[in-house]
Symmetry: D2
Subunit: 338 residues, 4 copies
């Protein structure tokens, strides 16, 4: 941590900084520049120390972190890539894993039809929402427990794992009974009560990026899960909020190489929620694979026109089949397979 | 709702839109322009209808809402200003209500000292956090139940209401036992499980704006509380995330007149979390009162240098006293008092 | 254009809207809803009409465009893809065109070495800046006329076209004498004096997206060039400003399919300025090709460590060679070639 | 400047950083932490040094500035507030200076009527645009030279200074002949050719903030003007682009105390362009004065309904009169006058 003192600082002010560092068990080096005095605060875990412990002291102008605030999710903590294994399907390795299915479970017929299609065309995992967080209280909020039961049935019928979202910390064990992977939605990335509960559960979990959270905050949220003892954590980029209004969210394609550089966790991409429109999904999905994503989370609906939730961003089974064909070729170009 | 068809649309595509509208019990008017056909969808509650019910149909290029997606929080639903009354203190009227105190309850001594100071200098309500949502799992998370007990003691000693944050839907009744106003933090503005629980509780509640949520989303979140039967809802602007990096969050001063125009709910401002630095708090607080805010939520700490949380943005009691003096004069300039 | 009246509007207010429409030569259709009256304004060119011509009238609550504000750049104006041809190199066709070279021309040796490398590894066009817009007045601003002369020499030696930036409307003819493609930088996307001058020049031009401009504003800026009679316009996505701080700008990958949907103009991508760091350039470049970009603009420097400008984001010749290999394979996966 | 080395860096890599610093005439101090080595680079003008001079070296993970990149605009360079004096009207002192008038000069009648009204109600300076930068090439672009002549006439008739925008570096001397203050629009804040020309002109200038530029970039742009020898620089906050869509731009109220902290230059606020709607202008104007702005730039039109440009955000003369009354009282509350 680097503490920049204001021009004309006094020896007493500098000493205040030094004393505080010592009281925290840290060591200190002074850099007396021509215009500015800079105090370097040294020690392990300075990344987890609030900068304001120093910023609040008299004479201090700026405090800059050199260490990142996250720890367990960092590549410095664990150098080799983490693999998350679900019923033998490995996420984070050479294979690019595709999770597909409808946004919301709506009926047995819809889920079975979707499940059959996505399996046939190469998805390894079935997605479907039973609890739907919706911005309006007047919207459809999912089939809840009945939806979970349908997911369990589909899982059995097609022999593939299922992933679904949890929205309340007290539902974690219920949802875990029926499904293989828990999903934390974008609006809950900093719902610390939920993160803590899922950390303790030790179930495989997909942590979606908050649509206005930095990559640093995202990895710090992952630290909640890891600190709870859950190391089956998969990150999911799903678009961030920007000023651009032609799409719902701007997919942050750069987050893929940035995550690969700073973290050991696998990262998948959800092109559907970012795009908000089916016609834009294939281009984003292909870009994600080319940029190094470890998987995709794609919405596929047997009949998007009749979907209760997010039909506009869902691919039809035949669109999905065509996309998978192209993705296989791109995966090969970057030394991977689907 | 206005459905814009693509250039060269067919009569069958237009009919598809008309039939869907009819199936939803809505009426329709066609506008055949020279270049574009536009279909106006008419009926009550079109604001609560997902636009994609139409956007997903063939030939549709754009769907635009005319009605807002929120309803109960809108000024069209209730024309006169709402007042929230807490132990006789009215929020939303002529009086500007100041809530002040430390970010986190740290000890009995700290809370009592803070409570004495803020009451003496004119605050009407004492704030203090017992459950602290923190971005890192390694930070101080509040005194929890012991903190609630200290708040109840301070409330009794100074005879003023207290406000504190709830972070888990299952803590609502516990927190309600000890305090007068519940606070929903920025990161929980779209935690729908929490909104639903507090809606049912019917306790006075301060709903902070999500730091990346639009005003429309904020009022739609307020609809969750109102739809649950809780009409004691106070909005709190606390800064939004922008590209500007000289402060923590950019306080959206325009949100005050915008809320006054579109909603009947009272709005207060938290200058401390926006600024992130005590030296910027007074200017923002004064601007908020001048712009028409109904109250302020200000961090005051007896000894900011020793604060465990957010000391950098806390005013000392004497800074707070000076600010209150200036605020009284500005309040008078805009026809109000503190 | 759709004019939404406030609830409880009067017949006189509606008539005011109708009369204004008529005075502008437009026709009108009224939609009397249960809660709201909506007036549809019909006619050609309503996209180019300021919405406030109606928004300012009494009783009007909202005005929504159905037509886009740009015209000449839209796919509705010209359905088939535009091709820009530079000395026989076609941009916007099956071939993905790579423009590469140093950010700034620094010396004859540097430019010749860079030119040789990029040509050898498959770039079709050489880039190099002679006039450098810099945020600080104390930075290196380019070799100016001497830089142009070096570019002309390199063009002759390697037999490939060159592209360089213009920053002052009065330099357009000077720069055109030495180079083949003019570049309008991100900070000048809405420099209307410069757009007008280049529109009149009819020289091939790369229009970089303003780092905080919407796609709609970008295409409207392209209309300036097209309206001046210059139809050799190439768009260049180079990243937008967001809250994310791990990279310089967030490349908006979705802009590629969005542009392809709404415009006939070719679009290339500059991964270097977006990334700001060489290690992130390859992933973004590959994503761009997979998403459908018509070309790339990549910084390559023979010795990035000694670069005067933007060395950190420059690839070495050998990194560039490796990237080109991967790009060829991805291009093939999406039915194109380099 | 602080250079953070990657974990496990080698002595050779550290030496590379040290050698580069020495070659730039800078001194160096090493801080060998337990986990990280940090190199402090010391010397004057490190703020003006590109960080990538070090970031590009092997083993370097991060480079952080301690000094700001701007210099002449900083309060460290000049401690006392700068005053800009125009025909005896001082900006930056106790008096809050109001500049008002129409967005665009449309006719003699319109300008004279506006000029009379704003003078009568207390404005000290008349504004009016002769050259209008417009996003679409099909919009009204101002009366140009004829507009300048009308401004000169109004200036004479009412005896007050006039301010108008310049958009082309080659128009600076023409515009200076007719008017007292030059204005640089938001889209031209980083038009370095224009900044350089106005820097040399030494005319009083209002530098509007780029709607997506940081305060640091804004002050660095001001350095262009100051470096050219022009020290009559007034900053103008006019709203920044955010995700919020209920207004045109979000006025960054915090920029006022931040500028006062880091710069000696006066700052005024344009509430009209931020709001985009007349009903929101008064609240923002009052907030600006309460927060410490040195002046306002307000659009007033005798008949907003007939305005050719930006009528929706213009106040009528009577609205303006009412606002001035309230502003006088708020100014007094913060120890100033109008």
């Amino acid at each position: 941590m680097i503490v920049g003192m204001r021009t004309g600082t006094t020896p007493e002010e500098i000493d205040g900084v030094v004393q505080r560092a010592k009281s925290l068990g840290l060591s200190v080096q002074l850099n007396l520049g021509t215009d500015k005095t800079v105090v370097a605060i040294l020690g392990s875990n300075t990344g987890q120390l609030p900068t304001e412990f120093f910023a609040v002291l008299p004479g201090v102008e700026s405090v800059t972190r050199i260490m990142k605030p996250y720890k367990l999710a960092s590549r410095e903590f664990k150098e080799e890539d983490s693999l998350v294994s679900i019923n033998g399907i490995e996420i984070g390795g050479k294979r690019i894993v595709v999770m597909a299915g409808p946004c919301a479970v709506e009926s047995e017929g819809q889920l079975i039809e979707a499940g059959r299609a996505v399996k046939e065309f190469g998805a390894s995992i079935l997605r479907g929402g039973a609890f739907k967080p919706r911005t309006s209280p007047f919207s459809f909020h999912g089939m809840e427990k009945a939806g979970l039961e349908l997911l369990a049935r589909a899982k059995k019928q097609f022999g593939i794992p299922v992933i679904t979202e949890v929205v309340d910390p007290h539902d974690v064990s219920l949802v875990s009974k029926y499904t293989d992977i828990l999903q934390i939605g974008s609006r809950n990335m900093q719902n610390f009560a939920l993160l803590t509960a899922i950390g303790k559960s030790k179930r495989p979990v997909v942590l979606k990026r908050g649509f206005s959270c930095t990559i640093t905050e995202w990895l710090t949220a992952a630290d909640y899960l890891l600190a709870g003892g859950n190391n089956q954590v998969i990150l999911c980029e799903r678009g961030i909020r920007t000023f651009e209004d032609s799409i719902r969210f701007s997919l942050d394609i750069s987050s893929i190489p940035v995550i690969k550089r700073f973290s050991h966790l696998p990262i998948i991409v959800d092109p559907s929620h970012a795009a908000g429109h089916y016609s834009l999904v294939p281009a984003i999905a292909k870009a994600a694979v080319a940029a190094g994503a470890d998987g995709l989370l794609v919405e596929v609906h047997p009949n998007p026109k009749e979907a209760l939730v997010d039909g506009l961003q869902s691919l039809t089974p035949s669109d999905f089949a065509r996309l998978m064909e192209e993705l296989r070729s791109i995966a090969k170009s970057v030394g991977r397979y689907i």
